[in-house]
């Protein structure tokens, strides 16, 4: 592997890793707030990707509006699913495994709605970024990858600030940590949970636009990506915000490097082996202390 390849692969891994981080964050936030293992998180990415693409078709909108459309699409659908489906199931005191199955049902529904609306063929994404290589520290790199890394970093930065400094963000943290105490302090846990889903959907939606811009958009792009993001979240420590970010990056790098160095066909297998190894030897992930069974 030449230095140039090394740089390209690292950048590629970081970019895809950022996308995993964005989804993994949502998965972690949801599991922390509700103990739901959200198999439909990948579908929010798909919806975001499709929403962004549609907004482009409609108006030929500039990139930042496409991204906004994706964010809104993912956020709205995620919030809708929480309010209509998961909250109902929680009120009915349905067991955890049944809720997990329901998330699979939601995933099937969203995929098929998307197929009805957008068809089953992969859709080409427009070139949202200047094409052609740019020089960066002496290497020619794709500006797309750099944009993805920068934008994801920005989104995650905003999220951290949101959790640190806004009333709502702090309330959400409190409600996730101890719903009963939060309720006593006058926080509406139902509301913070809705926001949790909305925000995780928004991040997945953003990830959808970014991922679409790298390849294409299709109705079934979400599920496996969501599973990989779950692996990433587990890698960093399920339920930990920083863990999801780091886990996503590491998983993206592992996947991209094993794709280049070992084999493209088995790059997903390498990811799964990493997953199993992590579960076995670091069951609480890289960043969390103290076991937490979900």
């Amino acid at each position: 592997m030449t230095i140039d390849q090394l740089v390209q692969t690292t950048l590629g891994g970081l970019a895809i890793g950022c996308i995993y981080s964005l989804i993994a964050l949502g998965i972690s936030m949801i599991i922390r707030a509700t103990d739901i293992l959200h198999f439909a998180q990948g579908e929010m990415l798909m919806i975001g990707s499709m929403a962004g693409l549609s907004s482009f078709w409609l108006q030929g909108m500039p990139f930042w509006l496409v991204l906004l459309a994706g964010v809104l699409g993912g956020g709205l659908v995620s919030m809708l699913v929480e309010v209509v489906v998961y909250r109902t199931l929680r009120l009915r005191r349905v067991s955890a495994i049944n809720i997990m199955i329901a998330t699979l049902g939601v995933s099937i529904v969203l995929q098929n709605v998307a197929r009805l609306v957008w068809g089953s063929e992969p859709l080409r994404y427009p070139t949202l970024f200047a094409s052609g290589g740019v020089k960066f520290a002496g290497f020619t790199v794709s500006p797309q990858l750099i944009w993805i890394v920068l934008l994801s970093g920005l989104i995650m930065g905003v999220l951290i600030l949101f959790f640190r400094f806004t009333r709502l963000g702090i309330a959400m943290q409190a409600a996730a940590q101890d719903p009963d105490v939060a309720q006593l302090m006058g926080i509406s846990v139902d509301r913070t949970t809705t926001y949790t889903f909305a925000i995780s959907g928004m991040m997945a939606g953003a990830a959808g636009v970014l991922l679409g811009s790298l390849f294409f958009a299709s109705f079934n792009m979400g599920f496996l990506t969501g599973i990989k993001a779950f692996v990433a979240a587990t890698l960093g420590g399920l339920g930990s915000i920083a863990g999801a970010m780091i886990g996503g990056l590491i998983f993206g790098l592992i996947e991209t490097f094993s794709g280049t160095l070992i084999s493209t066909a088995y790059k997903d297998a390498v990811g799964m082996v990493v997953l199993i190894a992590i579960l076995l030897f670091m069951p609480t992930g890289l960043l969390t202390r103290g076991g937490r069974e979900v």
Binding site: L37, V85, T88, L89, R92, V94, S95, I97, N98, I99, M100, I101, A102, L104, G105, V106, S107, I108, V109, L110, Q111, N112, V113, R115, L116, I227, F230, V231, T234, A265, Y266, D268, A269, M272, V273, L275, I276, L279, L280, P283, E293, V294
Partner: protein, 325 residues
């Protein structure tokens, strides 16, 4: 005891009569597929209903059984019964790969099995020399017994029915044995189970082994049923479908698992008329049944029958309009 025996015989007779009632070859083909699904659901029920293990990897054992049976039949002309048994055994053998992960719990274990399923699927997809790669395996010979071809849809239906019935009886016996009690104990309280002398890891591994053998046998049946294998028949989606079967039908009940399997296989077929919408409707049904609680459809039906038995009689006697009937 006696009434359950009568109920079982009744259901068996009814199922045996199905190809006579609906002899359209296409539908008989689909019914056989449903019976294969029933076996898969039984295997999942052993794991999730008895031992409390959520497996998202049964599709992998299903595939291993199918490819084993198909390879033996194609390359070595092994008789179909032996090929299917070998499929079950190899699937069981490969379940031993899960031994390291049985000490995981809950969703960690579920996700680890999903990882296993994804790896096995990639092997099927990429190892052309072993599995035919993305093209899969074609020209699987029709099953024959003592020189008679059993390749017809009806013959296959009965093969599937007999196998499913055998697996049902086997699992029913397991449920009421020392082994089954140990698994149930583990699912209810691991610490108390250990304190009663049960080695958790050993019993979970054994549970995976038995479930994998059943799934592998289902795979062997599938190879002869479809006569063509494609790796995408055994992707992780299949594993998820198998779990959905059990949850829809009702966790802990073998008849419930069978009901769930029938729904998962047949409903999309029945909804074919709704064309594009069928999978969408299926997804909605999954959500609704999951929301109905852990007793699933079988539990709801049992409650309904009990309710009717309790109140129906009184209605029949009291309601004035019944007199006019």
């Amino acid at each position: 005891m006696r009434s359950s025996l009568i109920a079982r015989l009744g259901v068996a007779l009814l199922l045996a009569a199905v190809p006579l009632l609906q002899s359209n070859a296409y539908w008989v083909h689909i019914f056989s597929l449903a019976l294969i699904g029933v076996i898969l659901a039984f295997s999942q029920q052993l794991l999730v209903g008895m031992a409390g293990i959520v497996s998202l990897g049964q599709g992998a054992f299903y595939g291993i059984g199918a490819y084993t049976a198909a390879s033996l039949a194609i390359s070595f002309h092994v008789p179909f019964v032996l090929a299917i048994v070998a499929g079950g055994l190899l699937a069981g053998l490969s379940s031993l790969l899960l031994i390291p992960i049985v000490r995981l719990k809950g969703s960690s274990l579920a996700v680890a099995t999903l990882g296993f399923a994804i790896i096995v699927h990639l092997v099927m997809l990429n190892e052309d020399w072993l599995t035919g790669g993305s093209i899969g395996m074609i020209d699987i010979p029709a099953p024959t017994l003592f020189g008679f071809s059993l390749g017809g849809e009806k013959a296959l239906y009965y093969i599937c029915l007999i196998t499913a019935a055998a697996v049902f009886l086997a699992f029913d016996r397991i449920a009421h044995s020392r082994f089954g009690r140990a698994l149930t104990a583990i699912s209810q309280d691991e610490e108390a189970a250990r304190a009663s002398g049960i080695n958790i890891a050993v019993y979970k591994s054994k549970c995976f082994l038995v479930a994998a053998i059943a799934s592998g046998i289902a795979g062997g049946l599938y190879a002869f049923h479809s006569r063509y294998l494609n790796p995408n028949d055994f992707d992780f989606q299949k594993s998820i479908d198998i779990l959905i079967m059990v949850v829809i039908g009702g966790i802990r009940s073998l008849p419930g698992a069978a009901l769930g399997a029938a729904i998962v296989v047949l409903i999309p077929e029945l909804l074919r008329a709704s064309g594009e919408f069928r999978l969408l409707l299926f997804g909605v049904m999954v959500i609704v049944f999951a929301g109905a609680g852990s007793k699933g459809l079988s539990g709801i039906l049992v409650d309904l029958v009990k309710y009717i038995a309790q109140h129906g009689q009184r209605w029949l006697l009291q309601k004035p309009w019944t007199a006019r009937l």
